[in-house]
Symmetry: C2
Subunit: 145 residues, 2 copies
DNA sequence: GTTGGTGCAAATGATTTGCAAAAGG
DNA sequence: CCTTTTGCAAATCATTTGCACCAAC
């Protein structure tokens, strides 16, 4: 697929080898669209080739993350989520009630970053953020969980 | 210590038992001041009474967290940090360069919460937040404004 | 052929849990 | 007493690593 070409090129340019496993991982992640855990990626890849190991997924994600091809987000639940890197940074609002995930424009956090920089001299590393809370639907209907 | 009285009262009121272990955990956490990992709390407690187990610390923290006496913060490194709950919520700026931790007034995040509520109908659960980045010292005194 | 990549299995490290004994109210 | 809590040990669960083999370049 031509859409993987970019990744392939970067991978080769950086002196990494091009293996079917890596292609499958990249493909799985791109095809999935959203954020995926290592286990989810593994599951996808194993549908095509069952002999792939989790460690390979982790190692591949480490490489891709280093090359800025994917982002690694700590979703708070002990599991890391990986997402294919897009041009513009965005963030996730996760409803801990219904589990819905909403994307947030970076602009919303931009203001925060500015404030932190101004008032605290802190350059916040807000490339990819997960914010927990209650979505509109859930905060509107039930008061008891 | 009289300063533990509040916790003792709440503990008893909520139908929980008052055990020396819990007192020691509370004392350790209050005495420490900042955020502590389970392991750090355990270490403190074991100085007084070595037979306390990690599981007890975790179970105690779960109880205290439920009673809003402590906050549980995901510091991103696979370890949870616990902190004695203060009246006003605050957040942490953690420099991933030098490890310095800076507190941030809740007001800074308040704006973000408002934005998320307004634009996305999302009630962000920003009670206690850890933000990673580079502190002023480590970013080389250079301001980005 | 080198060098890096892979699969496997076993290690790690934080947190959880089952269970019998001990202690709080 | 009766129920909760504890200590211990063993179990999870996500992630990492050592190592012998295999494949890309």
């Amino acid at each position: 697929m031509s859409c993987e070409g970019e990744a392939v090129a970067i991978l080769r340019q950086s002196g990494h080898k091009l293996t079917p496993q890596r292609l499958m991982v990249v493909s799985a992640l791109r095809h999935a669209g959203g954020h995926q855990t290592a286990a989810q990626i593994l599951e996808q890849v194993q549908r095509v080739y069952p002999y792939v190991d989790v460690s390979t997924v982790y190692r591949t994600m480490a490489v891709l993350n280093e090359l800025r091809l994917v982002t690694e987000t700590d979703m708070g639940g002990g599991e890391l989520a990986y997402e294919w890197a897009t041009d513009e940074p965005h963030h996730h609002l996760i409803c801990h009630d219904c589990g819905a995930v909403q994307q947030v424009d970076h602009a919303a956090l931009d203001h925060l970053a500015e404030t932190l920089g101004d008032d605290y001299g802190f350059r916040a590393d807000l490339h990819h953020f997960a914010i927990f809370g209650t979505c509109r639907a859930c905060s509107g209907q039930s008061r008891t969980t």
